[in-house]
């Protein structure tokens, strides 16, 4: 039985296809439309999923939708700023709902006349819970979902056992740790729903003690029972224009940061404090989840579950024996969740619990054959070398990385979720002091303070990082560098960011944050054979089983999807080399774009 899961019309539209409980394909719409966080109907993603399975819509038995609009729309109606001035805005919002959000079933019916199955709706947090539990490696587990808001809820505690999920408790809007984090993200000059990870990266630069008690006293607090209290006068979750009020500026004594404004110590200290408060809240929720369910394992999903610093601390606290986090924890992953929930509600087929989980390492997106890549490269006049033997390609790439080159990797199936895990990645030498700045400023055109994540060979993980578990294959837990690999330095918090960044912090400075933390991705032969062999080769030459990994995109754009996107990435940035399957391209060999194209591209970057 094929079931298609859909998530759309809020942010990060996605589609996922499952067959008898097995995830066949999943993709986010943004990758095809090239519009970051695209929320439109996931027509391309659906087409891809059906293509991957080799079926048509007529073969699909159920289409599942990830949230109950009968709950979410009244909540939105109720929480909109109801005053005369906002009526035009309200009219447009209602018009949008009338056309799309309330008509998902009708849109599906009109677009896919050959679909003869049923249309089912799954609650937002139930979709998250299902996405967290069903693909997890646990037969039984507590499930904690935390996000901004979905339907009318902001968090839930559930228990999963075999085929069943029972939601036990939930937290009502507007008490929301996710919305608190998003509101503070906008206060710090970043975009809500996409800039949160930048704040997470900024936090280690700040002194958390300065604003911590003020935030807990006035803005958000949690007691030992997990009861959350949010200072509603400081936030404006109902408004479209701003998520916070003037009172917030007053209580913090700091002006909100404009997007282009330089980051100063105040911003860093606020980021550090709000991150610390969020970690405390998540920990309290986890303790509550353990008390309510009595389980020893935990599965997590929802936007807040992408906070890998918080996840790492939770893992180190050992409240649960094991923690598994859905790699596509945001709303896009709910497409998988609602499809799986729909399946296990309608089928008696027993759930298969795989020891390594059922997400297929999150490689669920499109792949391209050598013939397709070859045809494309010829069509654009690209200059490339072909490596029939993978070992030779790996040797060549290793040599280039050691020489300081930054290499794009485009191979196999695209990842599902916000992280690049080796299929659509940019890699470099972690030992070089300049790698972080080069990648940030010359390739990704993003803020220089943001750290990079390391690929680490599974076999050597214990030599380099403390308490890393095998579950860390999705880059969802932050781990601390072993003391023996650290270099002691005096971090002067009053110095500008760039000066603080230039200090050598460890043997692998490009992937070590100021607090010696790193967003580790454990790579094994099973999870990604190509990257594992590349790591082995790099280790043989350098004695370091680590490579820098960052997503293959530039600021403001989604991760690349097609060979065309990847090739564009090569010629339009300062990336040195590009691997597309067995083809290896050097930027220096390509016909570089004329000034006009480059100018256009520059404008796109500035828009972000």
């Amino acid at each position: 039985m094929y079931i298609l899961g859909l998530s759309c019309f809020y942010h990060d539209s996605a589609a996922a296809l499952i067959f008898n409980g097995e995830i066949i394909a999943a993709a986010q719409e943004e990758r095809f439309t090239r519009t970051k966080n695209d929320k439109t109907f996931p027509a391309y993603s659906i087409a891809y999923c059906l293509d991957e399975a080799g079926i048509s819509m007529g073969d699909v038995s159920i289409i599942a939708f990830y949230e109950d609009t009968a709950i979410s729309v009244p909540r939105l109606v109720k929480t909109m700023g109801w005053n005369l001035m906002s009526l035009p805005k309200i009219a447009f919002r209602i018009d949008e709902w009338a056309r799309y959000r309330l008509r998902v079933e009708a849109i599906v019916g009109s677009r896919y006349p050959d679909f003869r199955g049923s249309f089912e709706v799954c609650g937002h947090h139930r979709s998250h819970a299902a996405a967290a539990f069903y693909p997890s490696p646990y037969e039984e587990s507590a499930i904690l979902t935390i996000d901004g808001v979905g339907d009318d809820l902001t968090a839930s505690i559930a228990q999963g056992k075999g085929n069943e999920i029972e939601v036990l408790e939930c937290m009502r809007f507007p008490s929301s740790v996710g919305l608190f984090y998003s509101a503070m993200t906008t206060f710090l000059g970043f975009k809500a729903n996409s800039g949160e990870y930048k704040v997470m990266g900024l936090a280690p630069y700040g002194d958390w003690k300065r604003f911590y008690s003020k935030i807990r006293r006035c803005l958000i607090n949690v007691d030992s029972n997990g009861e959350l209290r949010i200072g509603s006068r400081y936030f404006s979750f109902r408004s479209d224009s701003s998520m916070y009020t003037k009172e917030l500026v007053g209580v913090l004594g700091v002006a909100p940061r404009e997007p282009d404004e330089p980051i100063n110590k105040d911003h860093m200290d606020i980021a550090a404090a709000m991150q610390r408060v969020t970690e405390d809240i998540v920990e309290t929720f986890a303790i509550k989840a353990k008390e309510v369910t009595g389980c020893t394992n935990l599965c997590m999903a929802g936007g807040v579950a992408l906070n890998c610093v918080s996840n790492g601390k939770l893992q180190r606290k050992q409240i649960f024996n094991k923690i598994w986090v859905q790699p596509a924890s945001g709303d896009s992953g709910s497409a998988i969740g609602c499809a799986l929930d729909s399946f296990y509600r309608s089928s008696s087929l027993e759930r298969k619990v795989l020891p390594e989980d059922s997400m297929k390492n999150s490689y669920l997106g499109p792949r391209y054959t050598d013939e397709e890549v070859h045809e494309f490269l010829n069509s654009v006049g690209a200059v490339f070398r072909v490596f029939e033997a993978e070992d030779e390609l790996i040797q060549e790439v290793t040599r280039d990385i050691i020489n300081g080159d930054v290499v794009g990797v485009f191979r196999d199936r695209m990842e599902f979720g916000p992280r690049a895990l080796g299929s659509r990645s940019i890699i470099g030498d972690p030992r070089r002091q300049d790698t972080q700045t080069k990648m940030n400023l010359k390739i990704k055109f993003r803020e220089s303070f943001r750290p990079f994540a390391p690929f680490v060979m599974k076999e050597h993980i214990d030599e380099w990082f403390e308490d890393v578990k095998e579950e860390n294959k999705y880059m969802l837990f932050v781990a601390m560098l072993k003391e023996s690999k650290r270099k002691i330095f005096n971090d002067d918090k009053d110095k500008p960011i760039l000066e603080r960044l230039s200090v050598q912090r460890s043997e692998v400075p490009a992937v070590t944050h100021l607090d010696y933390s790193a967003r580790v991705q454990v790579v094994s032969e099973e999870s990604n054979p190509f990257i594992h062999r590349l790591l082995m080769s790099f280790y043989r030459f350098t004695g370091v089983p680590i490579l820098v990994n960052t997503s293959f995109n530039v600021r403001g754009e989604p991760i690349v999807c097609t060979p065309a996107d990847a090739y564009q990435g090569l010629i339009m940035t300062n990336m040195d080399k590009l691997i597309i399957g067995k083809y290896y391209l050097a930027r220096a060999d390509q016909a570089l774009p004329d000034e006009k194209v480059e100018e256009l591209y520059e404008q796109r970057r500035l828009i972000d």
Binding site: D51, P74, S379
Partner: protein
């Protein structure tokens, strides 16, 4: 002329809808508003409330259908439904 008529219908429909929703919202607020705190609630209790809300939401849905009919609008989605992944793989170049 056709476009002007369509625009007028769209405006009228929106005005009617906004007014009706304001009435609906005020009625709901007067009859149903409860003190909300950040407390965790039992999911069963939440579901019972949701069931009630589903019933009242049918009213909104029928309004929406009415709106949709008088506005004569159709949801627009970008992609051609017959287009498959392979067709747009390389369109950038």
């Amino acid at each position: 002329m056709k476009n002007i008529s369509r625009l007028l219908r769209w405006c009228c429909a929106n005005i009617v809808l906004v007014l009706l929703l304001i009435v609906f919202y005020i009625a709901k607020r007067l009859s149903h508003e409860k003190a909300r705190s950040g407390n965790w609630v039992k999911y069963e209790a939440y579901q019972a409330e949701i069931k009630e809300r589903h019933e009242s939401f049918k009213f909104v849905l029928s309004l929406m259908k009415f709106y949709y009919r008088i506005a004569g609008l159709k949801g627009k989605v970008r992609a051609d439904k017959n287009r498959r992944v392979s067709d747009f793989r390389y369109e950038m170049f």
